[in-house]
Amino acid sequence: MAEKDLIWRIAGGSGDGIDSTSQNFAKALMRSGLNVFTHRHYPSRIRGGHTYVEVRAGNGPVGSRGDGYNFLLTLGDSFARNPGEDAYYGDEEVKPLTENLDELNEGGIIVYDEGLLDEEDVAETDLEQRAEENDWHLYPVDLRGIAREYGRDVMRNTAGVGVTAALLDIDVSYFEELISASMSGDIKEANLNVLEDAYEQAQEFEHTHDWSAPEGDGHDEEQALLSGSDTISYGALDEGCRFISGYPMTPWTDVFTIMSQNLPKFGGISEQVEDEIAAAALALGASHMGVKSMSGSSGGGFALMSEPLGLAEMTETPIVLVEAMRAGPSTGLPTKPEQGDLEHILYTSQGDSSRVVFAPANVRECYTQTRQAFKIAYEYQIPTIVAYDQKLQGELRNVPVSFFDEEPNSDPGAVLTEEEIQEAAHHASGKFNRFQHDPEDGSNVSPRSVPGQKDGRFLATGNEHNESGHIDEDPENRVIQMERRVGKLADIREELDGLDTTHQTYKGPEDADYGIITWGSQQGTVFEAVDRLNDAGHSVKAIGVSDLMPYPEEDVTEFLESVDEALVVEMNATAQFRGLTQKELGRFGEKMSSLLKYNGNPFEPDEIVEGFETSIDDGELPHQRMKYVPAAGD
């Protein structure tokens, strides 16, 4: 059984170092030559509450969380360590053990901290009985005892890693290297001692399980471990973005933090401001001066940006906004993923919307599509939104280092130099015609000047305006300006369709009978399901859509025409993307059914398999985690 993927789950209380431990664990396995993928699950609390991270590692491509998992390292809960809270949080200590059991696969391994967990508490649970039923292998270890012997209680996480390495035959030197590189002084020594002692103790255990971690085949080239937030930030920096303004909100805070830490080094400016209205308005102010700028937020904060977003559309001020979706409505599930903001992103703000929206599907696409978002925004003077979610924000994946060996691009797009301004059209009064009715070369983009340039004066206003920007309610002017602004979307669609690589991604045999359509972060999971379905004898292919506006009409039409039926998979309750597709294409309502999930957890591959089989049988789902909505007329 050595070749199955390892899906290792570390569970404990928020504050127990679950995140940092899992990152190091993933990195160690990456260095050992495996592909890795992480999945985070955490509550909206500072300390306490149940949190876990899964690290999936294998030699095949791992583009999704797995189905269930096969190794549980449970530390117990730090919040319960506070003796003063015993009365209220009486059984919290044992929850990271008991609450994780439902998804543990048969034959799985459980390591728990018998130093922290009372023997009687464990005995009171049905752990023993369930272990027997499911062939689980229990390894109680005094992790706290080992941690205390060399350092502090919190080093229980390091002890757990040492035990894991011993039980799964993982070369412990990868962990030693990471600890040595990331820590220093007494802390480093203590952690190394804890690791070594735990590893040695666990090697002496009688191993009742008969499987180990897959041995890495090795990588052809050096790998890096990054999240979607890392690569959105890096894409922005490489595209010459040197200004960000924001207000903290989960999960958007990740990008804002990474940018704020790097921008000063890159000679840029980061501003944390009083609210999201200001955040978007500042980014507009900087962009108006010719600086490539961005802002962003999550659902509620993005709602506050609606009016500045409309101002960007009306004044044709380039801007890139990130929308890191989390489950709504309102405060919703602050730390859980959902794709429920699609319509919010597409349509928020008054009037007809003229904006571009990309939804990258993975760590690589976050980089390339963020770069594309800046190019489009500045070339076409249009707000561009990169929509991702709490899932993609936190999941780490290995990518070849060479992927990032790209040249930066500082081109500010359709901006004139002072020499060009002298040649450009002006109003008789001397004002620059920044909003020409019919810009040269048939384009809908009228190049801009920026304040401080000689003879470039114009007025930017949220009112309808004439060529030099002055407020103007003349019907003829109104129609011309509207058509030019909205017309840019067709031009952008044409440019995107002409690119060497489309933003839409395909999986499965071209001549398949059935299709699955998804968008954004669910792509990796859907693609894994497509492989399984074809292995099981079904004839299925999938398309992962990233261009949401302007809608990729040709790509999706071609896909839908080529299949008998299609299942649209998305993380929301009202089938928003399916609705968008019907609106944009004006047909296919009878071909598309929906598989929806909105319980706060992303899809697992087998759930999509199950949903697909339900859809072709027109049956019913066996449980309430998902919802199946048949096609029109079915």
Partner: protein, 311 residues
């Protein structure tokens, strides 16, 4: 070489340059105080030596927002209450440009109050002119944040139950480093104060009393006024925060008793502007950020150099 040759260009400047050829005649109501702001601003610009091409005027929404249409410069007529966040980022992006923001009392003290507080707190190097007519004019006469208690309007038929906001005191608490009040009926003082505000290195707040003859008929024309610097009755130290606070409180109270006090209330020349603070901690480049996009020799770092820590 700068890509912005208008900045710090040495030449004679005529106040007529600030009258736009497209809309030379404002459409404000006859007798409106807004004319006074426009006139004072046009008069101040040549005094401070700034040209239309090196000036960015950001306005909010309302009668005051029309200032952008009647004042020749680069302009950004934003959305209701949001002139300040647009303006302050513009200043950070290109500190060489003269940035002036303007809006009404509803715009700045009501819907945009949060931005007013924080822009003052951060002490951005810019000028903020608030057209204070104690009323919502463009929407036809509703009670505003500075309307006096008891003020009757269509939306407050029994008279406002709210005490008016104290704009000068609020500005001082929030952190503005230049605070003055002037009135449309006092054009020379107004022009001097606006010139001083523009030259001040920090957030300069000018509460500009602008009578609304159409919708605030029972309100005063802001005459007779007293210039507290010219009057023998008042003698506060404008560099002293405590004395300034007392003088502001008295001024705000007396306004509704019919006595109009104007002048300079507080000046702190020592406090560094936000840009200076940010540069001091290494979070803002020495060269204007806007220049770099025009500089063919500029170095652009790339994130490939950051990837090592992820391996």
């Amino acid at each position: 070489m700068s890509a912005f040759s208008a900045i710090d260009e040495e030449r004679e400047i005529d106040r007529d340059e600030f009258t736009p050829g497209i809309e030379p005649q404002p459409t404000w109501c006859p007798g409106c105080g807004d004319f006074g702001v426009l006139k004072a601003l046009k008069q101040a610009m040549p005094e401070v030596g700034r040209t239309p091409d090196e000036t960015l005027l950001c306005t909010g929404i309302g009668c005051s927002g029309k200032l952008n249409s009647y004042f020749e410069s680069y302009g950004f007529h934003t959305i209701h209450g949001r002139s300040l966040p647009v303006a302050r980022a513009a200043k950070l992006a290109n500190p060489g440009v003269e940035v002036i923001a303007a809006g009404g009392d509803g715009d700045g003290y009501g819907i945009g109050g949060n931005h007013f507080i924080h822009t003052a707190r951060e002490n951005h190097d810019m000028t903020y002119i608030v057209f204070n007519n104690e009323i919502f004019g463009l929407t036809k006469g509703q009670t505003s944040p500075t309307s006096p208690k008891g003020h009757k309007s269509k939306t407050q038929p029994s008279g406002s139950a709210k005490e008016p906001l104290r704009p000068l005191s609020l500005s001082l608490s929030a952190g503005a480093s230049y605070i003055a009040r002037t009135a449309a009926v006092n054009p020379n003082q107004a022009a001097d104060i606006i010139a001083e505000a523009i030259e001040h290195d920090g957030f300069a707040h000018v509460d500009f009393l602008t009578q609304c003859p159409t919708w605030n008929k029972d309100a005063k024309q802001y005459v007779p006024y007293t210039d507290i610097q010219q009057s023998d009755d008042y003698d506060h130290d404008i560099n002293d925060r405590r004395e300034a606070a007392e003088m502001m409180y008295e001024t705000e109270t007396k306004l509704h008793e019919g006595e109009i006090l104007t002048g300079r209330y507080y000046v702190d020349d020592d406090r560094p502007s936000y840009g200076q603070e940010k540069r001091a901690i290494g979070e803002m480049p020495e060269e204007p950020l806007a220049e770099r996009y025009f500089d063919e020799d500029a170095d652009w770092d790339r994130t490939y150099d950051l990837i090592d820590k992820h391996t």
